[in-house]
Amino acid sequence: MQRQLREIAGPLLGLVLIWVVIWALAPIARDWEAIDNVLENSTGSGLFIMCCGMTIALIGNCLDLSVGSIYALVSVVVGQLLVAHMFWPLAVVIGLGAGALCGITNGVIVVKTGIPTLIATLGTQLAFRGVADMWGAGVDMEQFGKNFDWLGSGLPGPLLLSAIAFLTIWFILSKTRLGFQVYAQGGNAEVARLAGIPVKRNIVLIYMICGIMAALGAIVYTARVDFAYVDRGQGMEMWAIAGVVIGGTSMFGGVGGVSRTIIGVLIYESIFAGLIYLHYDAFWQLVATGAVLIVAVWVDHTQRRASASRRPGVTSAKKRSLWNRVGIGS
């Protein structure tokens, strides 16, 4: 517990600082409403749930750019089923299944072709969105009923589902064999293979989990706004990656954890909220988040280099460039 706290200490301190600044400059933000807003924004959009999936993906070194499209596709699938008066829990399960299927597709493509994950999931990002368009364009999908809508309305539903997503991923990563294997193969795939870890099977599993999480996120948001629409989740994968990385999970695989992701998401959602309270234009949100992302990765990078050279005899930090890892370059 103490160790975990130390790991998230940096981002946590950043988050506290952000709120100190907000409260100092904007008295209006000094109530529960402000915090409730941030929590609702991060959980109600399904973004946090998606980030949970992205955490396991990045730790396992399986970059997934298709989550935004899976989000749109599942929204359409669930919307169609509900409009056709399917029993809502069944529709939810089928929606999750659709997400799993998308993830398995990603994993199988990566494993079978051996092409870089960046390219593979960029391809499926386009393909999944195409499928979503095919099924959902021009179709009215709204008014799904109170029971389904509870999943996304207010704070309780989204918070509950986010907690489930968080605990699931946390459990997998820190307690199960699969979790150990994900860290191992994200750290060094060849070492993992030599240790008898079924690296390829795990890649498929990782993408599947990531797909399911994107699907769950889509369901929450669809319930929240009470209609489904094909154009959802554009660029959302970038927000998911940013949340994970700002929290302190490595882009390079093998290092990280899902508790850090909570902080990561809250950091940029808090910045958004703060900028609004301080009457800045919405465009500044993007600038600020971009800056935070760069600073977060830079801090992580410097720390790692420092810890690597702390002892004599250890000369170099990881000489792995970002582009190598995502598969561009040699």
Binding site: V191, I197, A308, P312, T315
Partner: protein, 518 residues
């Protein structure tokens, strides 16, 4: 340049160098003097301060106090570029090549011959070919470095350092990865360079045999202090070791017990393309079979095929006389065969993971029930094994990259002990490990034998093969060419078998090559 060593001025002098790291005094007022045209060996255990001293000289580390003189002048070396400007060249243990470029480009990186502002490729490749030939490195200068083995890459590095005009060349365990023939060639070149150009060498090595062969003087470091500088001819071998480890010399190789009659591993007619050619071998329980041979003879390939790491075309493998068909390392481990790779740094351990996690990876299936890892059992096992193998680390949460080479190798061994395999394949088990570390590794191997494990030891260190195996198998071009019983062969016998016939080039061109450098 004077052709005889000038004893009054030193080409490099380091005075009272102090360097502390948090918790460690790495260098405690070290003095070091290098004469022109000498080969000065730097000896010491891992952690004695050799690498730190060299890194101070190269500008990688800043000293806390002390000064460095080059040709009698106090100089400030605070960046690697400063060191280069002073004519100091360094070849490190770790490879530093641009892997995406070919050999010739690497050799002349940053100083490519140009014509009209463009790289003159013709001259580039011609000169690269010339230098490679000089060191009997039989490689195509157009080959991309990433396709070379570790050994071949090392050779390219050495060739690269020798292409520039150097006043001082620092070699950090250069021959560790070289086979005998290349080593002899390298020594010939070193002698030529020091004689004709007065180049001084600082030579760091673990191989005591070659200290006398190549060195003029030796400085011995222990725990960050200089415990003495001697003319090598005045220093007895045992005395040298004693100074290094600061105590009595203990016996390095354990006695090996007689193995049992049961077969641990039987391999029949393994073939793989042109790499492995009908290899047959048997390992008894409690037996070490040493496989040796030149680089590229197929040792590593044999080990990897047996363990399921690489596929093979035909042949049969039996563990405890049960036929197995390993198609992946996962199969190999399940069937009781583990392969411990040579390249510890990139294949043995995940450097930024903890000892505990690294230990767990091959044993995850044993350590978990219903997919949940029993972590208290894992922690208990880690504590136990770290004590048993005396891994020097505060606890199991220490990161692998914070360990010395010897301790890393112990963790690699620990990790495979945990997997509880009946056959262990050690690929170069003690390369780059100091004398104490080696003894500990051998001790662990002996203990494994007592538990009835069969060991296949792939090694290019002939002494190790002779001393640490019950039987020695010599490979050449993917096939087994000779098997010796323990005590039957001498190093020269092994070498003769490994080379086969002596290649014409090595004989006729060695003197010429050395002359061409001068």
């Amino acid at each position: 340049m004077p052709s005889t060593p000038d004893t009054t001025t030193f080409v490099v002098e380091m005075r009272n160098i102090v360097k502390a790291f948090p918790g460690v005094l790495a260098l405690n007022s070290v003095n070091f003097q290098l004469r022109p045209g000498e080969v000065h060996v730097l000896l010491g255990e891992n952690g004695a301060g050799k690498s730190t001293l060299i890194k101070v000289l190269s500008g990688a580390y800043k000293t806390d106090s002390g000064e460095i003189l080059v040709d009698g002048q106090v100089v400030s070396i605070s960046t690697p570029q400063d060191a280069l400007d002073q004519g100091l060249r360094f070849i490190y243990q770790e490879l530093s090549l641009a892997k995406n470029l070919d050999i010739a480009r690497n050799m002349f990186l940053g100083m490519e011959p140009t014509r009209g502002g463009l790289v003159d490729e013709k001259t580039l490749y011609a000169r690269a070919t010339q230098y490679l030939k000089k060191f009997h490195i039989d490689l195509d200068p157009r080959e991309t470095v990433s396709r070379l083995s570790v050994t071949e890459q090392k050779m390219v590095e050495i060739a690269r350092a020798l292409t520039t005009k150097a006043k001082v060349l620092v070699l950090d365990e250069p021959t560790d990865v070289l086979e005998d023939r290349s080593r002899k060639d390298l020594f010939a070149v070193i002698r030529q360079l020091k004689k004709e150009q007065g180049v001084a060498f600082v030579y760091i090595s673990h191989r005591y045999a070659e200290v006398a062969e190549i060195g003029d003087r030796v400085t011995i470091l222990r725990d960050g202090s200089n415990v003495g500088t001697y003319e090598i001819k005045d220093l007895a071998f045992d005395k040298m070791i004693e100074l290094m480890i600061g105590g009595e010399v203990k016996k390095q190789y354990p006695d090996l017990r007689t193995p049992s009659d049961e077969n641990a591993l039987r391999v029949e007619n393994i073939c793989r393309g042109r790499v492995l050619d009908h290899v047959n071998l048997v390992i008894k329980r409690g037996e070490i079979v040493g496989v040796t041979g030149l680089m590229g003879a197929g040792k590593t390939e044999l080990g990897r095929a047996i363990a399921g790491v690489d596929p093979f075309d035909s042949g049969e493998i039996y563990v405890h006389e049960k036929r197995i068909r390993p198609r992946s390392p996962q199969d190999g481990i399940r069937d009781g065969i583990a392969y411990l790779p040579e390249d510890r740094k990139s294949l043995g351990l995940i450097q930024d993971h903890t000892i505990r996690d690294n230990y767990a990876y091959p044993s995850l299936y044993r350590l978990s029930t219903l997919g949940i890892v029993n972590q208290s059992r894992l922690d208990k096992e880690v504590v136990g094994i770290m004590g048993r193998l005396s891994v020097k680390a505060p606890n199991g949460r220490t990161f692998a990259m914070q360990l010395s080479g010897g301790n890393q190798q112990k963790v690699v061994v620990a990790k495979w002990l945990g997997a509880e395999c009946q056959v262990l394949i050690f690929d170069e088990p003690t390369r780059g490990i100091d004398i104490n570390g080696k003894r500990e590794i051998y001790g662990i191997m002996e203990e494994l034998l007592e538990r009835g494990v069969g060991i296949l030891m792939l090694t290019s260190d002939y002494t190790e093969a002779l001393e640490m195996s019950h039987r020695i198998i010599v490979m050449r071009r993917g096939a087994i060419c000779r098997e010796f019983a323990r005590g039957e062969a001498a190093e020269s016998d092994i070498l003769r078998e490994a080379i086969g016939e002596i290649p014409a080039m090595a004989q006729t061109e060695a003197p010429k090559a050395a002359a061409a450098v001068g």
